[in-house]
Subunit: 102 residues, 2 copies
Amino acid sequence: MELQKPYFAVIFTNTRTEDDNGYAEMAEQMEALARKQPGFLDFESARSGLGISVSYWDSLEAISKWKTNLDHQAAQKLGIEKWYSWYKIRICKVEREYEFRR
Amino acid sequence: MELQKPYFAVIFTNTRTEDDNGYAEMAEQMEALARKQPGFLDFESARSGLGISVSYWDSLEAISKWKTNLDHQAAQKLGIEKWYSWYKIRICKVEREYEFRR
């Protein structure tokens, strides 16, 4: 259905290096920290070789603030130095949604 | 960077039933079929319990046509009857993107 109040998604698609040192702990910490940020709505994550994590936010401002959070910036730096061989981040406006539950 | 020409993402998040009968084959067929549709741009998929598949399209019209494709509709019907315990589909406009490559 069409959303009366659109919200926003950050699609983070990535491939990893072979360097696992500290990765899982940091990923867990960053998810926990994201969940505490103002404007955070939800987080979904999966990996099969390719990793896809999607976080949902109530505004673009909330996404900007999360991007520049100091602990998050330190994690981003380590991600580029060590953990990711490639990533793409897409900032999206969620305009419609449908849900099915058995 | 800000996109001069926004494009669209369909985020399909799902959990599966225990019924694997025909699922992998159908998922493969539907990805191959999607890739042939007008306006298709890209497809990304991962699963760790939770499944996340994201397809990218050049217009909302392309997404509508793919949704109503007859073979795709037959697959959607089977998905609801057999394969998915829950899913959520979000139609999004991609407004900004960033990429890193080692």
